[in-house]
Structure formats: C-alpha cells, structure tokens
Symmetry: C2
C-alpha cells in the first residue's frame, strides 16, 4: 500500500477506540470536564478556574469536546457576548469517571511522591 515513504501507522490510527481513548486521556479534557461537572460555566470562568490554560488550548479543548458531543456551547447575544458551556448527558457520564481519576491523583499524590523519592535514592547513591 501507500506506505512507501510513510510508515506512520501507529496504534492510535489503527484502532478507532484508541483514538477516543487518546482524546479523553488529555489533561485539559480532564480539567475542563471536571470543572463543568458542577454545572454550566462561562468561557472566562473556565479560564479562571483552570488557571494556567491558554485561551488557545481552552478553546481548542472546548471545540473538540463540543464536536464529540461531550458538551454544548450556547451563545447569548447580550451586549458583551456571553457564552455558556454545559455538559451533555454523555459528558456527565464521562465526568463521573474523570472526576474520580482527578480525585485519585489528589488523594494518592503523597504516596506517589514517596514512591518516587524511594526509587530515586535507592540505587542511585554513591555516584
């Protein structure tokens, strides 16, 4: 086939399910979905709550998630434009899972941190 000069056919491309897994296995996706799990939010509210995300990544993440049916984007044409983002039922079901992952990270952070120092000091001494 047309793999003459191009051999870039990785697992991500071959399996459609892995594509989706790769998409939701994204830091910004986790944070956005977790942020919206408590209710609808405006664009700048999300930017403030996530705190550190660039407008580019925020918009990009939101667009992708909207396209995937995870959330909806509703524009209110007021004097300053107001845009609200809200999880769909599909997105809510995902939010439950990703929030659990996020909670796990927060809960077990120090345990992981301890394991890291143990790994680093153990065997790496006497250079």
């Amino acid at each position: 086939m047309a793999a003459s000069s191009r051999a870039y056919v990785s697992a991500t491309r071959s399996c459609p399910t892995n594509q989706l897994l790769d998409r939701i296995s994204d830091k910004w996706v986790s944070l956005v979905v977790a942020a919206l799990s408590t209710g609808p939010m405006r664009y700048s509210d999300l930017g403030r709550k996530i705190a550190g995300v660039s407008p580019k990544m925020l918009t990009q993440t939101l667009r992708t998630l909207e396209r995937d049916g995870i959330l909806t984007r509703s524009v209110t044409p007021s004097v300053p434009v107001r845009v609200d983002y809200e999880l769909t039922p599909l997105g809510s079901s995902l939010a439950t899972l990703l929030t659990a992952v996020k909670d796990w990270a927060e809960t077990n952070f120090d345990e992981v941190h301890a394991a890291r120092e143990r790994y680093d000091t153990d065997g790496q001494d006497t250079p």
Copy 2:
C-alpha cells in the same frame, strides 16, 4: 536550572497535583495499567497486547509507573531473562478507574462518532 530567560511556568508545573494528573492522563499509561489489571505480565506480552507501542514508549511508560509505585518490576535471571510487571495495590486502585475510562471509550464510541458527523455536516455545507 537554566530557567533564566524561560517564562514557561504553566499550570502543570505550578500545581503538583496537576503534574500527577497529567502523568496518568496518558494513553500509554491507560493501556498498560488496563493490560496489567488482569494479572502480571511479561515485557513482550505487554508489547503484543498493546500492539503498536514502540519498545521505547513501553519501557519509558513502565519505568515511570514503577517509579511512581504503580507497578513493580521483577527480574528472573533465567537463561533468557524474564521480566514480569505487576500492579501494586496502589496501581490496582488506579486500574479500576482507568479501565472504567477505557470501557467508556469503547462503549460510547459510536455515539461520539455520530456526534462528530453531525457537527461536521451541520453548518459546513455548501462550500
């Protein structure tokens, strides 16, 4: 060090918890942990089960997860060297969550796919 003229202080660096979230929000991490959730596995078994992962990424992922206390690496010095990887209790608790995410991706794939086509055709007509 060498951060003299660098202004790259993103959310990932600022919040340690987000570092961990970013780490486990990785496609390979999901696949490896999910693969090991059914029991211990050897290196090449993992490579075959995940199917598409390069040795580099597999080793890199395994090393990182070992360092983080998610899994253990045990070497059996037989004639051909045998290395087994097994989830720690900490890793098992994570595996439950990540497997759920992986299952979600497989279950809702076609729904997401349908949402995508709807998004693409809707508004993108008559070029």
